[in-house]
């Protein structure tokens, strides 16, 4: 993740630009939806888009992205024309905006490596914008209606506000003029109420500040709405004076900014209204105030804090251990009482840091929506894309790392899962394909499901292909359930083009997807009904930082097993274990459970055959359930998992190390990898 030596402020700007582009992507899609629906995007959308592009231009200039900045400048010009009604927003325009989002994102990726968008891209983009501007449909005819407003007020309006006023007048919407006095101590709340007007009742054209007195500042707000003055007054709160502005229906005005006098005196100073129509969490900060209330923090700093808290916890364990031996004197009791208070506060601290690291999955889902839009166009397939559970929160690091695997899965679904229109019609399906992404929490895990209603995957075809390639033996295939057969798709050998065509579908690089998800401590599962569709389920831990672990002993050594993959721990009578086909199977509550000796699996030597009862840690992720037999079960502990470092990154089955009780360094088992080792088909078995 490190990008070498670079001005640290550049990193901050890049992070800010990234957020901006993400937000712009959402706005661009909303604009595109409006155009696709045969209409025009609303003024708030266009304004949002305009502001985002304008800010992007500024930030790109700050970090020297000249070419990306030039593209933003061209786009800004185009959006300004749309905003002022000089150009109509049609399909060509909305596609150009979507394209710009992609180009900006690419430029940011370049910038992280010290580059910029290629100059040719900027030239090409400028040329396209020029074409759109020239070919733009004639703007709507100049409005011929106006409102009865004071000239001073009219003079205070920006060109854009005048334009909006004229459009509202032309469309016959009533205009209300509200005067409110906002106490300076509570300006935010007042401004929020004005924003609220724009979100629910109508369009806030402007809010012009006037005299400042002891009571506060006088604001004149113009709202185009069909709501009654009383309704508007109710939103704005006590003391709001709301009046209907008379319309002057004059057939002869020449310009869009024809606004006539109003009968009351007022003031002439403009402020840009800061209105945020979409309260989405990813929305760009639209006022200085909101920027001031959030801080951007390098995730590595949070990691360092988390490590420090983890180590404080270890020190606490040591202190508590020592305090327990101090006997029953008054000072010893006081010390133990303080230590308990210390532990509670430490818990709050670590919880707080964990929460800071959490971000909503919407960050990555919105990117997916853009990909679907782009790919479905290039693949010429109509696709409806549904997102649910975007507000589910996960560790920032996991969300970041999830983006590529999910992108890959979606790409597969569009390219290979969803059939073309003809095939869908023949199968009696609607012409529009459907892809859905859903996220939900389940205990301390988060499930992300990606479903499509495409052609599905034939497990027999997968098995045949895997057998032909020598990845599994025919005998192994006979033992596998339908679900396990589909699991063969994740074998590295299956990730070739050839298999893809054979299966008329999935398979491209799913092993890489699986590996990336496994790195996050997650697991991926596939279910499919031939002809009906496919469902991929990704199960992830909520966080990577502090985790709970079960401490176990194997051949005299201590290991920790993360509880997020532990279903339960059991003590089973040795008599209840059967040997079936070389496997150890225990009967637990009327279900059979396969047992695997964890020590043997790790190559620590044979087990003591006389163990009774047999201690078992039942691990499960998705539908795989396996009982790992351990020599001893100890207690549960909060641990901070540390990486083994680059040198030992390839050790399979070990997720990292942790310090237990402040003294002992203990290895943390990588349960998904061990489950795979215990259950997955292996070349060695095939060759035998």
């Amino acid at each position: 993740m490190a990008t070498g030596e670079r001005d640290p402020s550049t990193g901050e700007v890049l992070a800010e630009i990234q957020e901006l582009v993400d937000a712009l992507g959402i706005t661009a899609m909303a604009m595109d939806d409006a155009v696709a629906g045969g209409g025009e995007p609303g003024p708030e959308l266009v304004s949002d888009c305009f502001r985002a592009v304008h800010t992007f231009k500024g930030l790109a200039g700050v970090i020297g992205l000249a070419n990306a900045g030039r593209m933003a400048h061209e786009l800004e010009t185009l959006l300004d024309c749309i905003r002022l009604g000089k150009v109509r927003c049609d399909q060509a325009v909305s596609e150009l905006v979507l394209e710009a989002v992609e180009r900006f994102a690419a430029a940011i990726a370049e910038a992280a490596r010290g580059g910029d968008a290629p100059v040719t891209a900027a030239d090409a983009f400028a040329h396209r914008v020029g074409e759109v501007l020239r070919a733009a449909p004639a703007p709507a005819p100049a409005p011929s209606a106006r409102y009865d407003l004071l000239p001073e007020l009219c003079a205070a309006l920006t060109e854009y506000e005048s334009h909006r006023l004229a459009v509202c007048a032309a469309s016959g919407r009533p205009l209300l003029r509200a005067q409110v006095v906002l106490p300076l101590s509570d300006l935010d709340a007042g401004m929020a109420r004005i924003q609220e007007l724009g979100q629910g009742l109508g369009e806030v054209i402007t809010s012009v500040p006037g005299d400042i007195s002891d009571a506060g500042i006088v604001l004149t707000v113009l709202v185009a709405t069909v709501a009654s003055p009383a309704e508007v007054a109710a939103v704005l709160g006590d003391g709001a004076d709301v009046k209907l502005v008379a319309r002057l229906d004059d057939a002869t005005p020449k310009t869009a900014a024809t606004i006539e006098p109003e009968s009351q005196p007022t003031v002439a100073a403009t402020i840009e209204p800061e209105i945020q129509p979409t309260p989405a969490p990813a929305a760009m900060p639209s006022s200085l105030r909101s920027v001031a209330q959030t801080v951007r923090v390098d995730i590595r700093k949070l990691d360092a804090l988390m490590t420090a808290v983890g180590e404080l916890g270890l020190i606490h364990v040591g202190l508590a251990g020592a305090a327990a031996h101090l006997g029953d004197s008054e000072p010893a009791r006081a010390l133990r009482s303080d230590l308990r208070a210390f532990e509670r506060k430490l818990g709050e601290l670590s919880q707080g840091i964990l929460e800071v690291r959490m971000v909503p999955l919407a960050q990555v889902f919105d990117k997916l929506a853009r990909v679907v839009r782009k790919l479905s166009r290039s693949a010429q397939k109509k696709i409806r894309f549904d997102i649910t559970g975007g507000d589910t929160e996960l560790d920032k690091l996991i969300v970041e790392e999830l983006s590529d695997p999910l992108m890959h899965i979606i790409r597969n679904a569009i390219d290979h899962g969803i059939e073309d229109a003809g095939e869908r019609a023949a199968a009696g399906k609607s012409a529009t394909g459907h892809i859905a992404v859903a996220a939900f929490s389940q205990g301390n895990r988060v499930l992300v499901q990606i479903t499509d209603d495409g052609r599905g995957i034939d497990p027999e075809a997968v098995a045949a292909s895997a057998t032909r390639k020598g990845l599994v033996s025919p005998a192994q295939v006979r033992d596998l359930s339908r679900r396990e057969l589909l699991g063969l798709l994740f074998l590295p050998g299956m990730s070739t083009r050839e298999v893809v065509t054979e299966l008329s579908g999935r398979g491209v690089g799913l092993d890489v997807v699986k590996t990336n998800i496994a790195k996050l401590g997650g697991i991926i599962d596939v279910a499919s009904v031939l002809g009906t569709g496919t469902e991929l389920t990704v199960t992830l831990p909520v966080t990577l930082a502090i985790i709970q672990a079960v401490v176990v002993r194997l051949r005299g050594r201590t290991f920790a097993i993360p509880v997020n993959s532990v279903l339960e721990t059991l003590a089973i009578d040795a008599a209840d274990i059967r040997h079936i086909g070389g496997r150890h199977i225990a009967r637990v509550r009327n279900h059979s459970l396969r047992l695997v000796d964890a020590g043997e699996l790790l190559g620590l030597g044979g087990a003591d055959p006389g163990r009774d009862p047999v201690y078992v840690v039942v691990c499960g992720l998705a539908q795989h359930r396996i009982g790992f037999v351990v020599d001893e079960l100890c207690e549960e502990q909060d641990i901070v998992v540390k990486s083994l470092g680059r040198l030992l990154a390839k050790v399979r089955g070990i997720a990292g190390a942790t310090e237990l009780y402040g003294r002992e360094t203990v290895l943390v088992l990588d349960v998904p990898a061990l489950i795979e080792d215990a259950t997955g088909p292996r070349r060695a078995e095939v060759a035998a």
């Binding site: 590295p492 890489v512 540390k642 680059r646 030992l648 399979r652």
Partner: protein
């Protein structure tokens, strides 16, 4: 009154230090010498982060030969390599001696520990003291970069990067690609 004297003293020490440096010449470097299985080796001191007393390591299963295990040093996980194995010797029969040390070297920004039997001291080497390994020398190990001769003493210079090269088995099928996420 004391200020001029202090100034003179500082100047003198600076000059003597400067002269020593000039005598040392450009090709000079300092190495830490140590003993493994009765033989003398040396390591470039610029690659060393610290020298730690030997303590029990946590063994790691499924690692290539030469990896002793891991150690936590001030909150950081340090993999420890056994120089005896890496240099083709047999492990000591009675476990590590009380004089055993772990040399913590820098490997592309991450620590790596090298277990040695005994640390001898720091030796300054001139360029002329260093001979490349040749067929005439009884050393054909990849982990040795050169031979240093100081007076009657011979030291084999240990190449940290070569020592840290581990022979991993081919990844098993179904194991996915477990490559270094940062590479």
């Amino acid at each position: 009154m004391s200020t001029p004297r202090l100034l003179l003293a500082t100047e003198a020490s600076y000059l003597s230090h400067y002269a020593a440096r000039r005598r040392a010449g450009a090709g000079d470097r300092e190495v830490l010498t140590f003993e493994v299985d009765g033989e003398r080796f040396a390591i470039d001191i610029l690659r060393l982060r610290e020298i730690a007393r030997f303590r029990p390591v946590t063994e790691v299963p499924r690692v290539p030969a030469g990896v002793l295990g891991i150690l936590a040093l001030r909150g950081q996980v340090v993999p420890v390599l056994d120089l005896r194995i890496k240099l083709g010797r047999t492990p000591p029969p009675g476990g590590p001696a009380p004089t055993s040390r772990i040399l913590v070297a820098d490997l592309d920004g991450e620590p790596v520990g090298l277990a040695v039997d005994r640390v001898l001291g720091v030796v300054r080497l001139a360029a002329t003291d260093i001979e490349p390994k040749t067929a005439a020398l009884p050393i054909d190990l990849a982990c040795i970069s050169a031979i240093a001769r100081v007076g009657d003493d011979l030291f084999a210079l240990v190449d940290v990067d070569a020592v840290a090269h581990l022979e991993w088995p081919e990844p098993r099928l179904g194991a996915g690609q477990r490559d270094d996420p940062r590479s």
